[in-house]
Symmetry: C2
Amino acid sequence: MSAPDPDRGRVPDLDLSSDVVALTRALVDIPSESGDERPLADAVEAALRALPHLTVERIGNSVVARTDLGRPQRAVLAGHLDTVPAAGNLPSVLRDDRVHGLGACDMKGGVAVALRLAVTVPAPTRDLTYVFYECEEVEGDRNGLHRIAAERPELIEDADLAVLMEPSDAGIEAGCQGVLSADIVVRGERAHTARAWMGTNAAHLAAPVLQRLADHTSERVVIDGLEYREGLSAVAVRAGVAGNVVPDECVITVNSRFAPSRSPEEAEAYVRKLFPEYEVRVTEAVPGALPGLDRITDLVAALGATPRPKLGWTDVARFSSLGVPALNYGPGDPTLAHTAGEYVPVAHLRECEERLRRWLR
Amino acid sequence: MSAPDPDRGRVPDLDLSSDVVALTRALVDIPSESGDERPLADAVEAALRALPHLTVERIGNSVVARTDLGRPQRAVLAGHLDTVPAAGNLPSVLRDDRVHGLGACDMKGGVAVALRLAVTVPAPTRDLTYVFYECEEVEGDRNGLHRIAAERPELIEDADLAVLMEPSDAGIEAGCQGVLSADIVVRGERAHTARAWMGTNAAHLAAPVLQRLADHTSERVVIDGLEYREGLSAVAVRAGVAGNVVPDECVITVNSRFAPSRSPEEAEAYVRKLFPEYEVRVTEAVPGALPGLDRITDLVAALGATPRPKLGWTDVARFSSLGVPALNYGPGDPTLAHTAGEYVPVAHLRECEERLRRWLR
């Protein structure tokens, strides 16, 4: 279609006074695949600017809105605006007390809860910083939270705690593990397979590397009563020159998930010590986030859930690296994220909204 | 250039009465990359048709020329016309008593020797079948010898022996080993690496496969006094779904080189027995060629070289599968084949021509 679009540039309406279910559906129905968040960011920005108790800032397609009531404590409520690409799951559908549709679970339900709090709690018991950000589903250097932390850290680093409203089955997932990726390089010497003995087969030499990984027992680290179970996995093995050539290189990519009490440097040293006789190339190393439960006891009590350890890496680690303890708490089953059939239960939406409001009033 | 080419369709001249060095250079100077052998095949066909003692047949871009003298024995002299792609090594250069240029070694030097015999030995002591064929350097189903064996087997299967004039340092390389390629499939179960214990890592499970290959001792099989040293090599290892996923499959491709006394079926059974607990997918299995030295004692005596075993697979196996014992004998160092700097020593050209002529007169 090449005809001019009369809606081009028009900001979609978001009615924050509507019920959390209707609001979730309205958010789902404004498509916002990573990189194309502008219409949704415009709508969120416009809706928040209409609230006199908030100071609103725009950074790229991320929106930050802050109360400034001089409270002794400040909390961040954060959610990303973007989704993975659509998979035949637009527009939203309400069925069986669930909102179905792209991003319903990950994580427009959580965004709806936060927006409802923004409009219904004008004078919270602690100051609030709402962060609605872009590009969470793509590479880290495009991540809106990363950009805010780099360009406008003052907007978020003065908080005492952060709630990242990623789907967590309306339970508390505290902290997160760190991630290290590294290539272990096994070298040999090429030869024609008809004269294999003239070479040294790097694939054959890789056997002890893989066996060491198979035999490896990862630790279970308990922090604030939460058990973080570590892991060290080969995620890729690559060798091969041609069908008649003894390969001279075999690269094993390992992925380490390490407890948030360890630094990336410690995780790297651990892998190097496990494979002292091979070249180890670290390709990624990011710290986890400590649960910091001792600093958020009142929040945990208000949410009425027993904290669980978060094993995957999430953006809570970005807050943690700014010195802000953070947890995941949001509506939706995290295992439905990125599935075509994703949905968020209405009961989760209402429970999360109600419990957070109780904490803030 | 889009102007009409006045030479289009013209058959290049080949003067078979010229010296073997000049003839090698003339052959090199008619480009014949695999698939583009027509001009060279035309030239060879025209030159051979001018010889009244030969009956010439054309099959695709392959040329077969036979004497029919009623001799008690018939021998094939065969060489492929095609080359790998040019690498800045055209036209030919004569320097330091070597002919340099694309295909000089592999194997226009050998073709030149055969053409010189065709013109200089009109009444050989055994009947001769000259085979100059296309597409040896590419996939086997395009191979000209394969096509002749399939479409016109009577042209070659009545021979008692075959000399394939591939570069062999002017020595005798007898028989060749068989080749078997197989994928060994190791299966596991996917999981997110943050919960690696919920899956089964196929890459880790591949360790014993690679270790078994590392520990494997291949046999040395002696046939007609020649030692064929077998080999079993991993030539590729592939595993990997994504950087945060425990892989559910690891495929190890093995390449077996087996003695010509074994059948492909025996080679396959051997690999299956070595890896009984894994899926084994055979992707290629071709027999080798027995040296058959007892049937070619006079040829060996005439060539004055001690036969060596051929370890790589060559087209001698195609003759062997037709019941025709075959050997490699030709000018040039085989390790220079497919190199930009390939050349053939003038001394090799002259020696091969002289020794074969002695055998045929």
